[in-house]
Symmetry: C2
């Protein structure tokens, strides 16, 4: 499996380019519109075919590259079935799979940060990888105070991940604000402050007490992302 | 082998925590003083013993954490033998090895960006890793216009790396300004613009024509780093 973690410094977003080495079919996870030159270059240089681009949810902090990627590469554009994004070429149900050569990616519905949040799981050479979107960050989680976020649902989603996958699963989040690049599920189970709460009620109380300002680009990003990041029809 | 890439957003510096899984002995490569809280936390949470901290050269853009790490952990502090850093506990010759459990790290003297620049090589499970400092960036190289930098030497150092290690060697640089996190030597051989020049003369001409401004923190960072990042004796 080819895996490249790419960073958008402006919004502290991680985008992932994942591809099957043999078929050269690739998936772009949470691509950022402003980073298109980087994606074009890397796809060409690594000789990859973009099979699909996927948003782990409707982002509020950056504009997605889904529409532009589909226009340029004719790739599929994928979001969760609850996402208010009519321009996506396909909407993923919980548990639905994406095949790239021998790699099997599974969409895991994990509402809580938003009501359309998913994580993507893949296993390669007996190693589990979990692309956790804004559901699980390294030593943190996504917030739950807009876009139909719900702390009770996020608690259940996090427990689902912890119960389903082994502790040595690599955790690759969609953002990091502290300078970390990856973690494991076991590390997060033991050291993520938001997973050290006593129970669901304590988690809900913690999340409801955060009182965070809205993301800087939210008023632009959310409507733009519902149109796949493009103002013209796609 | 445990490997974590850590990012300092302010100076676009990558620091690497590398450790032997069995002995738990760890090495910190190019640590940044301001990121100490992150290193303390990760060393504790991953249950690692800091055996040594190493600077790939005297940095001009950030202050090193070497002195603070030595004071707190009693670790060795390592630089190249040409580095003007009298407080380092040991100075590495070209080809000198560092042992962490079964892992063998080799210091490769690669002058050019500065006259004290080194790369660090390690092989784990038949995979080569090269921590390239400011000698080789992803699709770029370090500059050669201060601290006894020399484009002719940098050309020779880069050719040495390309000749010595296989194309699938992972390249982990000390900086990235474009959102990339890792590459391979083969990719850099084929796609790094500075490695596409016709010959050494063309490389020298290219490097001498860059006309870059000095790093923002250079006047503070270089003297501070010659004292291991500490104003008091270490």
């Amino acid at each position: 499996m080819i895996l490249r973690q790419l960073y958008d410094r402006e919004t502290s977003t991680y985008t992932y380019l994942v591809a099957d080495e043999e078929s050269r079919n690739a998936l772009l996870l949470d691509p950022v519109l402003e980073r298109m030159p980087c994606y074009r270059r890397l796809l060409q240089e690594l000789n990859l075919k973009l099979h699909c681009a996927l948003d782990s949810h409707i982002h509020a902090d950056h504009v997605t590259a889904l529409g532009t990627l589909r226009a340029e590469y004719g790739c599929e554009t994928l979001v969760n079935e609850h996402a208010l994004m009519d321009c996506a070429s396909h909407k993923l149900a919980d548990g639905e799979q994406i095949h790239l050569g021998k790699l099997v990616f599974t969409s895991v519905y994990t509402p809580g940060h938003t009501d359309d949040s998913i994580c993507i799981h893949v296993n390669d050479r007996e190693q589990d990888y979990l692309f956790t979107g804004d559901t699980l960050f390294i030593r943190g989680t996504g917030r739950t105070d807009f876009q139909n976020g719900d702390p009770a649902q996020l608690y259940d989603s996090l427990q689902c991940l912890l119960n389903r996958y082994p502790d040595d699963t690599w955790v690759y989040p969609a953002h990091d604000y502290k300078g970390w690049t990856k973690s494991t599920l076991g590390e997060e189970r033991r050291f993520n402050p938001r997973l050290q709460v006593a129970d669901k009620a304590a988690f809900i109380e913690l999340m409801n007490s955060l009182d965070l300002p809205n993301p800087k680009f939210m008023d632009v990003a959310v409507p733009a992302n519902r149109s796949c990041g493009k103002s013209e029809p796609t």
